[in-house]
């Protein structure tokens, strides 16, 4: 029972961290795309072109490696728990 509780509570906490980090990572990328566009098109007010460029960049981002790396939020604590189990219980 205690193991189930650990898994459930751990999963909830890690999910909160996972979603917070993925939102943050996306937000940082979006900001950089907007700034890049502003640098390449100085003084332009064509918001549709800007939105299209940003959305294309975000689509590339979703296909890239970085969002997949966020799975580590679940993997690393699991590995650490297994490591702690082994280190504590072997003699």
């Amino acid at each position: 029972m205690a193991l189930i509780r650990l898994v459930v509570i751990g999963f909830v906490i890690l999910s909160v961290i996972y979603f917070a980090l993925s939102i943050y990572s996306r937000s940082v990328r979006r900001e950089r795309l907007e700034k890049d566009w502003a640098e390449e098109n100085p003084g332009s007010t064509d918001m549709d072109a800007r939105d299209a460029a940003v959305e294309a960049g975000m689509a590339d981002y979703e296909k890239g490696l970085r969002p997949k790396l966020l799975i580590l939020v679940y993997l690393i604590p699991t590995i650490l728990v297994i490591a702690a189990l082994v280190v504590t219980n072997t003699n």
Partner: protein
């Protein structure tokens, strides 16, 4: 107000320090002088400072507690500086299981056997590094929980607290990450929303001014009143 804030901050710092001091692993240079099992009838207060019965067994109100009697080297400043003098220390030896604190210790019986194997009489001392968490308090009858025993050749060893180093490094990294996330959230979500609200408010004020300037004279005021019945665009 300043006093209240200072007191509040002090309490928070003391509680966080106490929590870390209780839960994080600490190392003692010790020689084991004996082991024993005593029955513990918990009070509602000291129950809080014990874990639970061995992971495969059932939890009852009263149970036996394994103890490890030792002599440990005294230290200065949270164990960073060794001293030559010794003092007695009694550790409990309990499974933490899957529950708090997260040591995932299931091997208290094996640890007890290890402790007995390292037991030594005066004159032919065997030394060990004993890892524990928790506090000893004589008034509340609470003991630190031993989590590991490592035999060493001589009591003059340098112990590097690797776990605590990585733990606090992680804590600092997590703090900066959370701060960066909060700033990003404020810059991209809260500030634009506040700016929108400010613009909306300016627009309302502007309209109100326009209505007041239009509503001059008897006829103007009547028109203005009629206008209030019109659908707003």
């Amino acid at each position: 107000m300043r006093y209240v804030r200072t007191i509040f901050r002090t309490i928070v710092i003391v509680v966080i320090f106490g929590l870390f001091h209780y839960v994080l692993p600490q190392h003692d240079v010790a020689r084991i002088t004996g082991t024993e099992v005593i029955r513990m009838d918990f009070s509602s207060f000291n129950r809080f400072f014990f874990a639970q019965s061995d992971s495969g067994t059932q939890e009852l109100a009263t149970r036996d507690i394994r103890l490890i009697n030792t002599k440990i080297k005294k230290t200065w400043f949270l164990g960073f500086f060794q001293r030559d003098t010794e003092r007695v220390m009694v550790f409990r030896n309990e499974d933490t299981g899957w529950i708090w604190p997260p040591y995932f210790k299931f091997d208290s019986s094996d640890l007890q056997a290890e402790a007995e194997a390292e037991m030594s009489p005066p004159g032919q001392e065997k030394w060990v590094v004993l890892t524990h968490y928790g506090w000893r308090n004589r008034f509340f009858t609470i003991y630190p929980n031993a989590v590991g025993i490592r035999p060493i050749d001589s009591p003059d060893v340098t112990i590097v607290p690797w776990f605590n180093i990585f733990f606090f490094a992680f804590l600092v990294a997590a703090w900066f990450t959370i701060r960066a996330m909060w700033r990003q959230f404020r810059e991209r979500t809260i500030d634009p929303a506040l700016a929108d609200a400010g613009e909306a408010w300016d627009a309302v004020e502007g309209q109100a001014d326009a209505v007041t300037t239009r509503a001059t004279g008897l006829w103007g005021r009547f028109r203005a009143w009629l206008n209030t019945w019109r659908s707003k665009k």
